[in-house]
Amino acid sequence: MNLSSRQIGDALIIRVGEARIDSLIAIQFKDAMRAAVPDAVGPGPEALPVILDLAGVNFVDSSGLGAIVAVMKFLAPARRLELAALQPNVERVFRLTRMDGVFTIHDQAPTDGTQDAA
């Protein structure tokens, strides 16, 4: 599982380096996300954002979607999962399942200096 992360301010940006999040790698994806996110030092007044940069992902199936939701669930409440850079086929599956209402979705992942590019 190819994930790379960098910290920008309060946010941890995790870029997925796989072209697909599908049933073949859904479980590995969950495990790798668990390993990639350090435990937050107790929930503060504001949950710390983890932004999943999906710019390189061109396909998510229902297992992949379920895995992303599972990640959101185990990160809460200390961390809140947000998404960035949904490609057309990925955006469609979030929209059709109404999961686009559950996540904050950014047009692109923040880059150094600009905290939020959405």
Binding site: L24, S62, G66, A76, R98
Partner: protein
Amino acid sequence: MPRETEAATVTEQQVDRDHDGPFAVTLRSTSEAVRRTLALITEHFAGSVPDAELGMLEMVLAETLNNVVEHAMSGNARGQVKLRILCRNGGLDCTILDNGLPMPDGEPPRTTLPEIGRMIDDLPEGGFGWSLIRMHVRDLEYRRQDGINVLRFLLPLTEMADT
């Protein structure tokens, strides 16, 4: 697979049917095989089916084929799956055959999208598959025949180029 006893020569009709005929693929019931199959299909229809509709085709086939792998075969990697796609009736006419367990109620689930409430802990992690399939396809038919599941549907296309 029973040994075949056909004559040893490929007839003209067979060539016609085979070459100009449908997209066809035989695969084992594994997630890797599903991935490879989807890649062959998107490559096959790229250029003749618009990108957005190709994305829908890929999604619908991913959901149906992964259901076979996960539910009909419940993880047994030696199951045999056949998929055939014809361009007709204004869309892509897909037939999937597998030798796994039948659908639980003798028909594909009629589940609607899982409810999304306000509590993060209650968010659904599954159960999207058949809703996604049913949103996109028409003329869905399922039957069990001689121990084989036969699933068939049409994915309508707005505009169909010859492939």
